[in-house]
């Protein structure tokens, strides 16, 4: 097991170095750049030259990359070009927002998806199953940004049940401990802030949860159907085991393996979904940070760090998924 982990970690390092070089060179070869973003209409050749030099973009790209790596190895990802804040600070501020959103979405997706998929499989061909299939098809097909705007329009503009954007009502005081606003409110006993944060979280979380929910329902359903037909289930039933035991220990546990894989992959996909969802709801997490850093200011230091971080999260989640196989399926452990 240890060897597997070490090997995967080495792969991770190589992946990150290759990715960092790719991002670095790609970003700098895009037309436009931070200099243009900073100068706006007021870009004279002198100002452009001045800022290009001051930011170090006049140096050969390999020299720039070398300096960047040198700093990164010491944990310095530079500062945001726009605000001058250290990139680590910018990201650590946005990270909890995205995680809070992703966790809420995953709770909805898994909490609803697994039971729904299981029930659909058990009552295969009946109306719940048919409804579930139709619902999941819709969930997969509907683009997130469209759903986001649709939900927003209905629930914030027509019936004012939820706020249109943000994580907290403007002007509401809260004490930040972890950066997860719902949790912070509970920790500091500022329950109004916690409730307010939850109220802001619901629509974005539902929007973000739709695709993973649909996928999880479908995979669970298919997987449970497979297991239901296995000999050991029939044997267990023939032995007269209690239904709950059969469902819990024989059906669900065996059916969960592909579901867990899917959850792992969906967590990665969730991060890309978060970009759109956050944009729609002005969420202020990593997704918002990515779009702002690309479209507006070409904030290279922030972009580089976020893409590397996203890659890191993706690889680590997949590593955890692999490890969880061993937990769920003893055969993997033995091998």
């Amino acid at each position: 097991m240890l060897r597997v982990i070490v090997r995967r970690l080495l792969q991770l390092v190589v992946t990150l170095i290759a990715l960092s070089a790719l991002i670095f060179i790609w970003l700098r070869n895009l037309p436009g750049g931070p200099v243009e973003a900073l100068l706006g209409e007021r870009a004279t050749p002198e100002r452009r030259a001045l800022l290009t030099k001051a930011l170090g973009y006049d140096q050969p790209i390999l020299v720039q990359y070398g300096k960047f790596m040198q700093r990164v190895l010491t944990g310095d990802f530079g500062n945001s070009i726009r605000t001058g804040d250290p990139v680590t600070e910018v990201i650590s501020r946005a990270f909890p927002a995205t995680i809070e959103l992703a966790v809420a979405a995953m709770i909805i997706a898994v909490g609803l998806g697994v039971p729904l998929g299981y029930l659909a499989a058990r009552w295969r061909g009946r109306s719940l199953d048919n409804l579930t299939i139709a619902g999941t098809l819709l969930g997969i097909s509907i683009p997130i940004f469209f759903l986001g705007y649709l939900l927003k329009d209905v629930f914030t503009q027509n019936i004012h049940w939820f706020p249109p954007s943000g994580r907290l009502t403007t002007g509401l005081d809260n004490t930040s401990v972890t950066g997860f606003f719902v949790l912070d409110g509970l920790l500091t006993r500022e329950f109004d802030a916690s409730a307010d944060a939850l109220w802001h979280l619901i629509l974005p979380a539902i929007t973000l949860a739709t695709i993973p929910l649909a996928v999880i329902v479908r995979i669970t359903r298919a997987s449970v159907l497979d297991v239901l037909n296995e000999d050991y289930v029939r044997t267990a039933e023939a032995k007269g085991l209690r239904h709950r035991t059969i469902r819990g220990r024989h059906i669900l546990r065996n059916a969960l393996l592909p579901v867990v894989t899917t959850i792992g992959l969906q967590t990665g996909a969730l991060l890309s979904g978060a970009v759109l969802t956050e944009k729609v709801y002005n969420w202020g997490g990593l997704g918002t940070l990515i779009t702002d850093s690309i479209s507006g200011g070409r904030d290279y230091p922030v972009l580089q760090a976020i893409i590397l971080l996203a890659a890191l999260v993706f690889v680590v989640v997949n590593l955890l998924v692999d490890l969880s196989y061993a937990f769920i399926d003893p055969r993997v452990r033995v091998r």
Binding site: L30, P31, G32, P34, E36, A37, L39, G40, E41, R42, A43, P45, E46, R47, L50, L51, K53, A54, L55, G56, K67, F68, R71, D76, G78, N79, S80, I81, R82, T83, G84, P86, R93, A97, Y149, T156, Q157, H160, W161, P163, P164, G166, R167, L168, T170, G171, G179, F191, A195, D196, L198, W199, K279, Y281, N282, G284, D292, G296, Y300, P301
Partner: protein
């Protein structure tokens, strides 16, 4: 097991109740009754982007200037709602006949937010600070200072020239005397630049304001710039919560002018345009900036106040004379005659827009009432093209489809109309859309790859040089890097003229010659950018320079 199930059910119910309760609370807050405008409360305005920081001298964009303007004052200011100059921290000013020595009579009894007195020594401290700024990083971020004063005591940043600043003396507490090495037409208008706001010397020193450090390819600013900006303005700095995207400004009870009516102003940063509108409609913000022209009517219909700022901008169609065909004045005139700008204004312009005949608004000194005008005349355009042997001309027309600027809210639509007009007189147009910061500005301003392009400008202060000088005072890739020395010299001469009458005459002549003799571009329109507030907001005075001070604003509850 039963107990566990029950516990789960209770937890779910609690969370649901919490959420519904929160929704209910917010609903009841929104339902508060309306009444007369009164002092107190909070005014929430939606900003479209992060400010860079709050040290005026290191900033040059609108999103940074919005909060800075509430906290700081300048020596000279603008009459509310106009671009006309009036006293600010200086009650009056005068200059010697050469325009080199400027004497400011300062307002008495003014205090900075930290309680220290505003006086001539403080004014000179600020001028000296700017002039003596050290470090390439810091100097490179002082865009407006460099524009105005040219350079530093010791230039460390490339591109800085010789400084026109000589010295500043505090004759007494109420009199500051600024001596320049040479006159510049930008004054006194440039003294009203937000970048040149006066900050508390004590706070500047205490919070190490001059330290701008470079980390890799970016800069970081001082505690003064980020956490402790101290000026004399109607609001004091309350904080910038970056996790919540909120800048809080508190009422300054000791402000020397009209004290703020609200207790607090919050600038909520919402980068998505449609989200800003939705927040406005939901009542969670009370003001937004620069609505799209297409939305204005709808917003008005919904009861919002859509306030047009007097137009202090210009949109132009630039002509690149790198293309030999476009060097011929007749071809450029043909392009001007081909454009039905009146129709463009009527169909695509924001309400209150008007056709431009010159490259500056008519409120700026030196606007000539009798320049050559290019009324829509496609026949004349065809004839001129024929005379110039330029029939069947093909031109690459660059435009940025992805941005909305105050003077150009809908570039794609503007391009379509202008291109149709050109095609109607036989000019073949290759539409070349390029993202604003992804090719357009590089290709147009740096490499001059285009033949035609649309671009514009919002004035910084009331001075013809800030418009015409910026566009045509020197060779630029935008217009073909041509050595149009006659035009450059005329502009330099006008800019160096000290007396008002001479200055007016010189700039009027420049404007006439630009239209008749040089025509490096075609002025298209002046478009008033709008600001939108909810109907319970009173007292907002919209500024042509987007120089709104929100101390006059009240929100009725």
């Amino acid at each position: 097991m039963q107990a566990r199930r029950l516990k789960t059910a209770v937890a779910i119910a609690a969370v649901a109740a919490l959420a519904v309760g929160a929704a209910g609370c917010a609903e009841s807050e929104r339902d508060g009754g309306s009444g007369e405008a009164k002092t107190g409360g909070t005014f929430i305005f939606a900003g479209a982007g992060d400010p860079k920081n709050f040290d005026p001298i290191f900033n040059d964009d609108g999103e940074s200037f919005r909060p800075v303007r509430q906290m700081f004052d300048t020596l000279v200011s603008h009459k509310p709602g106009t671009a006309e100059l009036q006293g600010g921290l200086a009650e009056s000013w005068e200059h010697d006949p050469d325009g080199k020595v400027w004497t400011f009579k300062l307002r008495q009894g003014v205090k900075f937010h930290d309680g220290t007195p505003f006086n001539a020594a403080a004014v000179c401290f600020n001028f000296d600070r700017w002039y003596n700024m050290k470090g390439a990083a810091a100097q490179s971020q002082m865009i407006y200072y460099m524009d105005t004063f040219g350079g530093f005591a010791k230039n460390e940043a490339e591109g800085a020239g010789e400084s026109i600043y000589n010295k500043c003396e505090a004759k007494d507490d109420g009199t500051a005397v600024l001596t320049l090495n040479k006159y510049k037409g930008a004054f006194p208008g440039a003294f009203a630049l937000t970048s040149l706001s006066i900050a508390s010397p004590e706070a500047l020193k205490k919070y190490d304001a001059n330290t701008v450090t470079q980390s890799g390819d970016s800069f970081s600013y001082s505690a003064f710039a980020n956490e402790h900006p101290v000026g004399t303005g109607p609001f004091t700095f309350g904080g910038w919560d970056k996790a919540k995207n909120e800048i809080t400004l508190n009422r300054n009870p000791d402000y020397f002018g009209e004290k703020a009516k609200v207790d607090k102003m919050i600038i909520k940063i919402i980068k998505d345009e449609s989200t800003r509108k939705q927040e406005l409609r939901a009542g969670t913000v009370q003001g937004i900036d620069f609505p799209a022209p297409a939305d204005r009517k709808a917003l008005e219909g919904e009861g919002f106040q859509v306030i047009n700022r007097p137009a202090f901008n210009i949109l132009y169609l630039g002509i690149n004379q790198k293309n030999p065909k476009l060097k011929d004045l007749r071809v450029r005139q043909a392009i001007a005659y081909a454009l039905n700008r009146q129709q463009l204004v009527q169909t695509k312009g924001p309400g209150g827009a008007k056709v431009a005949d010159e490259f500056m608004p008519d409120t700026v000194l030196g606007y000539a009432p009798d320049v050559q005008k290019y009324e829509y005349n496609p026949e004349k355009a065809k004839q001129l093209l024929k005379e110039a042997g330029a029939e069947g001309l093909t031109l690459n027309f660059y435009y940025p489809p992805d941005v909305s600027r105050p003077y150009m809210p809908n570039p794609q639509e503007i391009f379509t109309v202008l291109a149709n007009d050109l095609q109607a007189v036989g000019i073949k147009v290759n539409g070349t859309p390029r993202p604003w910061n992804g090719g357009f500005k590089d290709d147009v301003q740096q490499f001059g790859k285009h033949d035609l392009h649309i671009l514009g400008w919002t004035g910084d202060y009331n001075d013809p040089g800030n418009f015409v000088g910026t566009f045509f005072g020197r060779g630029k890739a935008e217009f073909g890097d041509q050595a149009m020395t006659e035009m450059f010299d005329a502009i330099a001469k006008a800019d160096a003229t000290v007396d008002d009458a001479g200055k007016k005459a010189a700039w009027e002549q420049v404007n006439k010659d630009i239209a008749a003799k040089w025509l490096p571009a075609v002025p298209v329109w002046h478009a008033p950018p709008a600001i939108v507030v909810t109907k319970d907001v009173k007292g907002l005075v919209a500024s042509p320079l987007t120089d709104e001070r929100f101390n006059t604003v009240s929100v009725s509850k």
